[in-house]
């Protein structure tokens, strides 16, 4: 038994090394003046200075965040209201909506992005510079996942409380807001956070729908790796490190909160 658990530990360790070594090594080198991994240079913060002072990089990061939060908010409203509506609709309507909802979930992002570009830009002639195709694309990417995270919460909900609220004189809107919403809020929040991560990670939909002058982190990084500009390349190492730290903080924060909540219940 001892032997197998040691082997298990080594295996798990190796997988973690595979997943994290590249990010961690890059993080170490982001604090040096080196232009390539492996070269030994002294400590330097110039990558971080470049990252936060170059207007092009700053605009790209802020633009990505604005797009992610904006389209995630839209997707959350649409998906949540849609899930509530579908839940109370006839079985036929509900299954119709659920089926179409699965398409962007299963579909390859390349196909989703390309098809939206064809409809909005080629057929309807909407200019990419209006940001409408880009936002529409990201909302289409995210809303189905919000729908999917809210629906199970609606099924678990105690529906008699809603009826009780109506019997006690609440309007349907008030009942939805103060009875239904609190019961599904955890699904809404996880849908929103999933929407943000999907939008932040997207490359394909943005490539096919974005204005030529606008870049998300993904499209910017992909173009930058094709070029040979060293200062930009190493500044992106700093960006990768910052994002890694932010993700660790968010994960640690949500875990500590969850542990505290468990502690309170116990």
């Amino acid at each position: 038994m001892k032997k197998t658990s040691a082997a298990s530990g080594i295996f798990i360790g190796l997988v973690l090394v595979f997943l994290y070594a590249p990010i961690l090594i890059l993080a170490v080198y982001s604090f040096t003046g080196a232009a390539n991994i492996g070269a030994i240079r002294s400590f330097s913060l110039h990558n971080y200075v470049t990252l936060f002072t170059t207007p092009e990089l700053r605009d790209m990061i802020l633009g990505t965040l604005a797009l992610a939060f904006g389209s995630a908010a839209l997707a959350t409203i649409l998906g949540t209201v849609g899930a509530i509506g579908a839940f109370y609709s006839s079985r036929k309507v509900n299954s119709g909506i659920s089926t179409i909802n699965q398409i962007p979930v299963i579909n390859a992002d390349v196909v989703t992005g390309f098809s939206i570009c064809i409809l909005l830009v080629v057929v309807l002639g909407i200019s990419k510079d209006t940001y409408i195709p880009l936002v529409a694309g990201h909302v289409t990417l995210c809303a189905p996942f919000v729908f999917l995270s809210v629906t199970p919460k609606l099924k678990q909900m105690d529906s008699s409380i809603y009826e009780a609220a109506l019997d006690l004189g609440a309007t349907p809107f008030t009942a939805l807001k103060s009875v239904v919403l609190p019961q599904i809020i955890s699904g809404v929040i996880s849908g929103f956070s999933l929407a943000i991560t999907l939008s932040l990670d997207d490359y394909f939909i943005a490539t096919y729908t974005k204005p030529a002058t606008f870049d998300t982190i993904s499209t910017y990084v992909v173009n930058a790796t094709k070029g040979s500009q060293t200062t930009i390349k190493t500044a992106l190492w700093a960006l990768s490190t910052v994002i890694f730290l932010v993700v660790i903080l968010i994960v640690a924060g949500s875990n500590i909160r969850a542990l505290r909540a468990e502690g309170r219940e116990a």
Binding site: F18, V81, N101, T225
Partner: protein, 266 residues
Amino acid sequence: MTALRFSRKNLALPYALFLLVFVAAPLLVLFYYAFTNGQGHFTLGNLTGFFTDPNTLGTLCYSFAIAAVTTLVCLLIAYPTAYILANSRFKQKSVLVMLFIMPMWINFSLRITALKEILTLIEGNLAMFPFFNAVIGMTYDFLPFMILPIYTTLSKMDRSLIEAAKDLGADEKAAFLKITLPLSVPGIVSGVSMVFLPAMTNYVVLDMLYNSTYIMGSLIGSYFSAYNWHGGSMIALILLAIICIFTLLTSGMEEEDSRAMGGARL
């Protein structure tokens, strides 16, 4: 009462409309473009062109090869990982599991950049092993998506079944092959569908690792750059057909909503 139900049902309207405009309509337009030429006349040329050109057929085969090998490698790494995690008695198990999920939330283009730097350091010239590098890159990108569903299925499994099998005389190996493995099929199927299809289409991973061979996604990208909407639509349609076949083959076997779980855990 009927008036009230009517108002709740109406909440489904905006989302249904949204799905029709941004999900269903783009696919219909895709159909139209795939089967017409530049003059708007009906043609099967795009379809027959794809299946008679050795280049595009080669691309299809190469995509399948990359996707199949990546899926297999991911499965061979992810299954033992998920198995060890699910059976571990480690006190901070949730933290350990989180470590394997966390890379999902770091922008993929930055992670591939990190991987590229490491591979360049090890191999010297990335162009020497294009297929190998593509598989490593895809595995690096998609591994968490294989680990998560398998882990979920394994940890939900009823442990008493294994004890029962052992009481009835099964050894460790027989219990695994007859109980654990069959019961984890839904997780495996979910994982495979979350790795195989993206591996056929995510051409950016290949681009960034200097693999200039096309996969299916790259074809859409190149038609897009050439403003050839008809050719691109046909490729998108062929991908859609592959996705549909894949989904039909695996329907009912999947772990429920596993793609939505990534966010639920945040």
